[in-house]
Each structure stands twice: as C-alpha cells, then as structure tokens.
C-alpha cells in the first residue's frame, strides 16, 4: 500500500515535468477573461492555420490586471483579453498595453469599437437588454432603462447582483447619460421595483420571468440564446416563454458592451499577437462567434446568426468605452448607496 502511494506520487510529479518544457517554436500567451469552450476551438483553428500555439490563462479581468502589474516586464503574457470594455480601458490606463499597427484591424473595426490610440480593439459586442414576458407586459409598456424606475414596475423586475461587471457597466452609461445624482436615484428606484433581492445569474433572471415570478429581467442577449439551445428541455421551454426588448431605441440606444483584446506592453511577440487579433476579426471567425457564443460580431461584413436575426437589428449606445473604465468605481459606490446588493 505504501509502495503504491509512493508510486502514484512519483507519477504525479512526473506529470508536472512537461510544464517546465522549453518553449515550442512559436507560441503566444493569452490572459483572458473569456471562459468559453468555443474560444478553445478558435485557438485550435488558429494553430492549424498558422502553426502558432495559443497558451491561455483564464481569470477575472481585474485579477488579470493585478497579475500583469505584479509580473511586470517578466510576464509571459502577450495578449490581454476581456469580456468587458471597462477592463480594457483600465489595462490601458495602467500602462499595460502597447499600440498595435495593423491596417486590417483599422479597416475592419469601426472607430467607436477600438481605442483611439490603438491600444485595444473590440472582438465581439454583447447587448444588455430587457427580457420580458409577452403574456404580462403590454406592448408599449417598455421603453427605456430609465423607465424601469417608474412605480408601475413595482414588484415586476428582476436583476442580478451589482457585483457583476455587466450591471456595473450598464450603470456607468446611465451615469454618463443622466448624471450621478439621477443615476443613483434610478438605481434605488429600480431596486425598489424588484420583486426579490438580486441573486443568481442572468440565466436565473430569465427563468424568473418565464416562470411568472417577474415580468421583466435585465440580462445579456446571449444568455437567452444559450437557454434556447440548451440540452435541457426545461431551459428551452423557459426561453420560449420570453421575448427580447431593446431599450432606448428612440434615444442613445441599448447598452452594448464589448469583449476585446490588447497587446501586452512587454510582449516581444507583437507581430504574432497582431496576427492572432486579425484572425479573430476575420469574417469567418466573426460569424462563428455569432453562431456559437451568440455575441454580435464587430465586423460589419460578418454574418449574424439566425437567432440574432430573429431578435432583430437595434440601435446601440455608442458611448466611449473609456467611460466604462472611468466610472466603474462611481457605479459601485452608487449601487452601494442605492442598496442594490
């Protein structure tokens, strides 16, 4: 028994050895907040095409910023990727990124979806929208995010915790549009209209609407898509019972956040990293994003998926993404004051 234990330990130690192997011919290291299975498939495609291996570290965007800061010039990272525009802006402001030079990117991506100094570029868009029950919400009742503060929604809303970055980003745009004071009052009123204290994930908010607990949920579009294509028939039923509404279509547009990436300042493989970004922005991959993760492509020429087409075109808020980064702390402070947990 002791022998067996010892041997298994040796085996375990042996398994560790490959980690310290010398670097392969060409590889890039990606620090990413995106934790989608689909991303791994994309990386494999990239390797097949170019022979460049993509090594990945996945963690929350701000945790990765801390790690980049502490690792300094010795970081193995070449690329920093987030699922939120604010994170990109904070990385830039922390001096962690270097500008890219790529005519392909400049041409593919609209100027609003990349950093003016070319330190980061968006790869996909995700819209934070209202998901409602067509059975209980009359047409015309829904209009704007601001309208959710109206007393008519008392006991009819659900949303997740304000610790979530998606809610924090939405809040920064509300602050930007209406000012801090109004935004704080808005958050307090919305919290008051909620049928239950914030909890669960976006998916759980949608389910709360489909099960009849609430009438309207704040959620990202692709969560609805994931429910629609789930393996669990209960999930598909839940998705069928709700509809998407894009708010503020008359005004600034629905809140759109981005997933994007920038090249790490100390990277010595900027060329490879740029090649990778260009690959991700190719129409082939962009259309795959629309199909697989149900995020919106940033490339104007890429195809939307059927589900996205069904949801329909919409006007997007084109607030600068630096706002998301700048106002994040303020947003959390206002949430704290408004009592939105």
């Amino acid at each position: 028994m002791k022998k067996a234990l010892f041997h298994s330990l040796l085996a375990a130690l042996a398994a560790l050895v490959p980690c310290s192997q010398t670097r392969a011919a060409e590889e890039i290291t990606l620090y990413t907040q995106r934790h989608y299975e689909f991303d791994e498939a994309v990386h494999r495609l990239f390797t097949e095409k170019t022979g460049i291996v993509v090594k990945v570290v996945k963690a929350a965007s701000d945790e990765l910023i801390v790690r980049l800061e502490e690792e300094g010039a010795n970081t193995p990272a070449d690329l920093y990727m987030t699922a939120d525009g604010g994170g990109l802006d904070r990385a830039k402001k922390a001096g962690l990124l270097q500008p890219f030079t790529s005519p392909v990117i400049l041409e593919k991506v609209p100027a609003t979806l990349r950093d003016p100094e070319s330190q980061w570029v968006a790869l996909t868009k995700r819209a934070r929208v209202l998901i409602y029950s067509p059975a209980r919400v009359k047409p015309g009742e829904l209009s704007t995010y601001e309208d959710l503060a109206d007393p008519k929604w008392r006991g009819r809303l659900v949303a997740r915790s304000s610790s979530n970055i998606y809610n924090q980003s939405l809040m920064t745009t509300v602050i930007e549009a209406n000012g801090a004071e109004a935004a704080g009052a808005w958050a307090a009123a919305v919290r008051k209209n909620m049928v239950r204290p914030p909890q669960g994930s976006d998916r759980d908010q949608i389910r709360a609407v489909s099960s009849g607990l609430a009438d309207v949920a704040i959620a990202n579009t692709y969560y609805l898509g994931l429910l629609e294509t789930s393996e669990d028939p209960k999930d598909r039923d839940a998705a069928a019972a709700v509809k998407i509404f894009f708010p503020n279509q008359e005004g600034r547009g629905a809140h759109v956040n981005i997933s994007g990436a920038g090249i790490v300042k100390s990277s010595k493989k900027a060329a490879l990293a740029t090649q990778f970004l260009e690959f991700l922005l190719s129409d082939e991959i962009q259309s795959m994003y629309a199909e697989e993760t149900m995020e919106y492509p940033v490339s104007e020429t890429a195809k939307w998926s059927d589900i996205q087409l069904k949801w329909g075109k919409f006007v997007a808020d084109d607030v600068a993404f630096s706002v998301l980064g700048d106002r994040n702390a303020e947003a959390v402070r206002l949430f704290n004051e408004a009592g939105w947990e």
Binding site: L5, L9, A12, A15, L16, P18, C19, S20, T29, L30, H35, Y36, E37, E40, V56, V57, K58, A59, A60, D62, E63, L64, V66, R67, E69, E70, E71, G72, N74, P76, R90, S161, S163, I165, Q168, V195, P197, Q199, G200, S201, D202, R207, A208, S211, G212, L213, Y223, L226, L227, S230, E231, D232, A329, A331, V332, R333, N336, E337, G339, E341
Partner: protein, 562 residues
C-alpha cells in the same frame, strides 16, 4: 531515502577547558536551534504574502468611509447570520450521527459511518448551483403567496427560503468537519466515564448530554471553527444566493472600485473575526488535555439498537448524507446525462491540463504535509510561547480569502523577479507559485493533524529515543513518522481534496494552459452551461470522494489489535 542526520553533530563530551571561555548566554542552546531557526524561516516565508498584504493596510483609503456608511453593516450582519445559522445546523448534523455511529450498533452503521464524510468532496460553489434549484422550484408557491398575502409576506418568505436554503446548503456540505472531529473525540472517550454517568442515574441520552458531549467539546469546537472559516471564506455560493458577505465585499471593493486598501481592511476585519475564533479554540484546547481520556483506556462498546430506535438512528445518519451528497450528486448526474446524450457533449475539454491539475494537487499535498509535519515537530521540540506563536502565524492563511493570498503571492514573486537574481530563475507564472500559494492557504490543515498526532504520541517516546542515542531528525524519522502515518495520510488526503476544490486562488495564479477540475467546472457554470458543468463537477466529487475514503481508512486505528 538517504537522509543523513545533520542535527547537532557534537563532540560526545566536550572538554571543559575549551568551552569555558564562551559566553553562553550569547549562544543559542543546543536544543532545536536549527529546528527552531528552520521553523521560524518557514513561518517567515509563509507569512511573507500576508505581510505584503498588511503593507497596504496602512495606506490611504478612498472608499473606506463610503463602505462604512453604506454596506459594511449588511456585510457583517449577513456574515454573522450565516456563521451562526450554519454553526448551529452543523452541530446537529455532525454531532448526532457521530454519536450514533461511534456508540450504537444498527443496521447500515458501517456504510453510513464513511458515507457521512462524503459531502466534503462537494465544493460549495457547485452545491450552490444545485441548491439554487430550490428557490427556482419554489417560484410557483411564491407567486401564490404574493397573490394571497401581499408583497410583504412574499418578500419575507423569499428571504426566509433563500437564507434558509443557503444555510442548509452550506451546513450540508460542511458538517463533515464536525462529524470527523466528534467521531475521533467520542471514540477516544473512556467507557468508564460514560458508565459512571449511567451508574449515577443517567439514561443513555442524559449521559450523552451530561458526560459525552462536554468531554467532546474541544473536538466539536475545533470542527465548528473549520466550518466557520469555510463559511466566512465562501465566495461563489453567497454571491449566487444574493447574500453578500465580507468576502464578496472584498472582491467588489477591490475589483469593482479599484480600492485595494479598503478591500484589505475588509479582509482585515475578517481575519480578526477568525483570529478571535482561533484564540477561543486554542483556549478551549489548552484546557482540553485535562478533559480527554487517555488513549489507552478501554474503547466504548456499541449499544445495539433495535426496532424503531434503529430506524430513527438510521434516518438521523442518512439525512445528512442525502442532503449533502446524494441530492447534489443526483442532480448533477441528471444534468450530466442530458449533456452527454445531446450532441453538444462530444469532447471533454482540456484533458491533459486536467491531469496536470491533479498531479499538482497530489504533489503539493504530499510536500506540504511533509513540511508541516517537520514544522510541527520543530515547534514541539522545545515548546515555548514563541514557537506556539509560529504555529499560529503559519496557519493564518486558512483564515484568509484565497484571492487575497493570491495577490499577496503575486506581490512577493513579482518583487523577487524584479531583482532578477542571477541564480533564481523567473518563477512568476509557474506551477511553483501556485503550489506555494496553496501551502500558504492550507498549511493549517496538516498542522492541525500533526499537532493532534504528536500530542497523542506524547513526549516520553521522543525522549526515550533521544536517550537511546538518536538525535532529533532520526528520532522524527524512526519514532514520530511511523506513528504519525495515519494522521499524515489523512491530512494529505484532506489537503488534496481542498486543493482540488480551491477556486479563486487557482484562477488568479495558474500558469498558462493549466486547468483544474474546479476551473473547468467554474468556466462552464459561469457560461450558465449547467449541464456541461455537471461533468467536471462530478469528476471533482468522484476524485475527492475517493481521497476522503482513503483518508477515512487510514484514520482507523493503525495497529491491529488481537
């Protein structure tokens, strides 16, 4: 193993004249000077990340006043509600089955005695997904309540169900800490004491409350202390249930508001709470020596139960297993089945990376356990307040949130790397860093086990060995180590399971292309892909359960009696 004893290599008898001139007070005494220095050094290394964190504490905080005015009270009340609720519940769920299993005989006892530890294999963040089905399933009922009794009643019911379920869920997966501690306490109690209580007119039940329970108090307290630390440290489950505690506050303040200092002050409050708990536990333990029966006493003979009593006992032991293990595993199996039957369940991601994750957990558990055993031996070699303090400091990581430790470790290694020491390879972003962070986080576990083990071995055996000519290291290898085998294997396994379950620290520190089952399960779950997430979740539970059963086997008395 070719370990040559290096400890005091002294001349057997020193000529008096040579030694006279040396001022003795300026020299360390022979005993354990190297051991003591080693222990102090290790403590220093372990404390380094925590110190790095403390360094930030003194700095100016922008948001602290804001936090104090808005959310601090809520964080504290929520933390307190959970701590009290879960503590009370684990007492019932842990102590009662432990008592039944160690002192009574009934059908199914043997099976349940080890099944009762299985919930430890389930990480709280996974249990949270499963148990959150509860509030979802209750929605139709909630709607009825709102229609019939109004919004206030509804909100109250919602609160009660959510907090209640969270408490039940945490207790259901954490009670084994108390169960294990109680089993060992009860099984070591002398039959004579309980019999004395019976002779003095107590029924078995009264004897339990008046004699067995008070005697087991130190063990119970130790178990509950572990549970409380896990509760305070929990991050995934409380977030999911919308019950923000201090830990969630730390993350929110640090990453959402960018105020490191305020976040660390929250962590500081948390560590104070835990330090106070540890101090109480220490105090109770310090007195416990007079309470516990000595190891050589006659073990309890189990009381056979029949009929209704046997069924009740069976139910009392089965209920925690059902709630903490069978229910979540059943749900996960259901989801995993849905996933594997659908065409989406084709490939399992990151196979090789997972093997490495397992390898790392196993190797780290082994090395850290060995270090902890040597460390505790050094601390006990010459007991002093200083050395006991070393032990406490080295165990502080257990009371610190994983993410905070991760950042401390990053600061330490980042600083080291910046010096670009010629002999030191760049360590940032390697497995060494994450293994070290695990050690900082979990050092308390093997420390506790070793301490208990060494206490049971007792000083005289070591002294006998020393007098028979074996210096400390040899004594450790030849006497303590063989006798510590059971507790060390148990500690190693528990450590292995804990590392396997660990999430926030792993997420921040893992090297490129490195996955553990926990990170895989987490990324799938945060994609809201519960069905796909069920597969790695079940794997964690399976590996963890095997580890725990292995541990339980070794916890049985090591020597075969006639």
């Amino acid at each position: 193993m070719a370990i040559t004893p290096q400890a005091p290599a002294l001349p057997i008898v020193a000529p008096v004249a040579d030694r006279r001139s040396l001022p003795s007070r300026w020299r360390l005494r022979w005993r354990g000077d190297r051991w003591g220095a080693g222990a102090a050094l290790l403590t220093g290394i372990i404390a380094l990340p925590l110190l790095a964190i403390l360094f930030y504490l003194g700095q100016e905080s922008v948001e602290w006043n804001h936090l104090a005015e808005t959310v601090l009270v809520r964080y504290l009340t929520n933390t307190l509600i959970l701590v009290v609720g879960v503590s009370l519940l684990v007492l019932v769920m842990g102590v009662v089955p432990a008592w039944l299993v160690t002192t009574c005989e009934f059908r199914g006892r043997r099976l349940l005695s080890w099944a009762l530890i299985l919930p430890l294999a389930i990480p709280t963040y996974i249990a949270a997904f499963v148990f959150y089905q509860g509030p979802e399933a209750a929605i139709p009922m909630m709607i009825k309540i709102r229609l019939r009794f109004g919004v206030e009643a509804f909100l109250l019911a919602e609160q009660v169900i959510r907090y209640g379920l969270l408490i039940v869920m945490l207790a259901a997966v954490l009670y084994p800490y108390v169960y294990l501690a109680c089993c060992s306490a009860f099984s070591r109690q002398s039959r004579a004491v309980i019999e004395a209580a019976r002779c003095l007119g107590d029924s078995p039940g009264r004897a339990f409350f008046r004699a067995a329970l008070p005697m087991a108090r130190p063990g119970i307290v130790a178990g509950v202390a572990l549970v409380i630390m896990e509760v305070i440290n929990d991050y995934g489950a409380v977030h999911f249930f919308g019950v923000p505690t201090l830990t969630e506050g730390i993350f929110r303040t640090w990453f959402g508001m960018g105020d490191k200092v305020a976040a660390l002050r929250l962590a500081g409050i948390m560590m104070l709470v835990v330090a106070a708990l540890l101090a109480v536990e220490q105090w109770l333990r310090g007195r416990a020596r007079y309470v516990e029966a000595d190891a050589g006493s006659i073990p309890m003979k189990r009381l056979p139960l029949r009929g209704g009593k046997a069924i009740l006992a069976l139910l009392a032991c089965f209920a925690p297993v059902a709630l903490g293990f069978l229910f979540p595993v059943g749900r996960l199996l259901h989801w995993a089945g849905l996933h594997l039957l659908s065409d989406a369940g084709s490939g399992f991601p990151a196979g090789m990376a997972l093997v490495r994750g397992l390898g790392l957990a196993l190797a780290t558990a082994f090395v850290v356990t060995a270090l902890a055993a040597l460390f505790m031996y050094a601390v006990r070699l010459r007991e002093s307040r200083l050395r006991r303090a070393l032990g406490r400091i080295a165990g502080m990581g257990y009371a610190t949130p994983g993410a905070v430790i991760a950042v401390g470790v990053l600061v330490v290694f980042g600083t080291l790397d910046r010096f670009e020491l010629p002999l030191l390879p760049l360590v940032s972003g390697t497995l060494f860093v994450i293994a070290f962070a695990y050690m900082v986080r979990f050092f308390a576990i093997p420390l506790q086990f070793t301490r208990a083990g060494l206490e049971r071995i007792g000083k005289p055996l070591e002294e006998a060995s020393r007098l028979l000519g074996h210096p400390p290291l040899q004594t450790f290898l030849r006497v303590d180590l063989p006798l510590l085998r059971a507790p060390l294997i148990a500690a190693g396994m528990l450590l292995f399971v804990d590392i396997l379950k660990e999430l926030p620290l792993t997420l921040i520190l893992r090297p490129a292309n490195f996955e553990t089952l926990a990170t895989t399960a987490y990324s799938l779950a945060s994609e809201a892909r519960l069905q796909a997430c069920a597969v790695p979740a079940l794997l964690i539970i399976a590996v963890g359960a095997v580890g725990l059963l292995f541990m339980n086997r070794w916890l049985q008395p090591p020597l075969k009696n006639e």
